[in-house]
Amino acid sequence: MNIWTYTIIIGVLTFLSRYVVTAYANTKTYSETTKKVLSYVPSAVFPSLIFPAVFYHNTNFEIYNYEVLAFVFALIAAYFSKNILVTVIVGLLSYIAIIFMI
């Protein structure tokens, strides 16, 4: 298969994953419980974008590495500032500082 054919198929699959439910979900049939449960989507999805990136190096689980240490700083910044920019800056700077200092 040509790489552009792959690209177009993956483009269509990605678009459909974003479009189908967004456009066709019948929200009038959502119960009160469904609406409440959907408010937990960020809490249910984002941890899987966060924790493996911190604790895994390739396929190995590591409890102590640069990322975990910088993550602790970012976590403290996130919890107290509740501000995205502060968290990102503290996380980035502590990560870079740790790599160059250790």
Partner: protein, 239 residues
């Protein structure tokens, strides 16, 4: 006439608010975009391919899976299956967003869906939750989504021009991780959300080595199931 000037200003302001809200999340997007382009070239793909995949697919995770699996010689169904699994969280985002844009035209739904990334969902979900009664609230999503799109394309171009400037020591996934940490930080103090985050985090770590990157949807389903239990059987946990 005054009315139309007023409403167009409102649209403009909401659109700008979307851009402003999503900007901090674009620091890792820009780094990731450069890295993606550099990796494409290093793996022997052309600059046109690097840009073409970003223009057509516009999903960093899926693009990365695509080029690494293609280089590894994976069969098509494994590539497509991995992309579908990686994108499956978009169904959940869609289920949340659909209630905000259900009255919009098909064109609006197509455009907004195209721009529905993690970053766009994160900031515009916060905005729409509070402002869903405003009939122009979806302009926030347009602003945040288009910003991520522009930053992604520009950072790809920079990556192509600058070549291999990225340090191998820095983990780009980590940069992405801390922006999402910032997004759930405000919910860490609520017991019900904390339990959902804890379960989803634990599942993502336990199931990380599952094939087709299935850990993302496994963790999401576990978290959503717990949220359902809390809201039906253990309402005392909600504060």
């Amino acid at each position: 006439m005054y009315q139309s000037i007023f409403t167009s200003m409102k649209r403009h302001q909401i659109y700008l608010q979307g851009i402003k809200d999503v900007l901090p999340l674009n620091i890792p997007v820009a780094l990731f975009g450069m890295f993606y382009a550099v990796l494409c070239i290093e793996l022997g793909f052309s600059a046109y391919f690097a840009m073409g995949t970003s223009l057509i697919i516009f999903a960093g995770g899926s693009q990365l899976i695509f080029i690494t699996l293609l280089t590894a010689g994976a069969v098509p169904w494994v590539i497509f299956g991995s992309v579908i699994m990686n994108n499956s969280r978009n169904f959940l985002y869609g289920a949340v967003f659909s209630k905000y844009i259900e009255k919009k035209s098909r064109i609006w739904k197509i455009v907004l869906s195209f721009f529905l990334t993690d970053q766009c969902f994160a900031v515009s979900n916060n905005y729409l939750k509070k402002n869903y009664k405003n009939k122009f609230a979806h302009y926030h999503m347009l602003g945040s989504g288009m910003t991520v799109w522009v930053i992604w394309q520009l950072s790809n171009l920079v990556g192509i021009w600058l070549g291999d400037i990225m340090s191998d020591q820095l983990s780009l996934n980590f940069f992405v991780a801390i922006t999402f940490l910032a997004l759930i930080a405000k919910d860490l103090g609520k017991l019900d959300h904390f339990l959902v985050i804890l379960l989803s985090a634990t599942c993502s770590l336990i199931f990380y080595n599952l094939p087709l990157k299935a850990y993302v949807i496994v963790a999401a389903i576990a978290g959503i199931s717990l949220a359902y239990l809390i809201n039906t059987k253990f309402k005392k946990l909600i504060r």
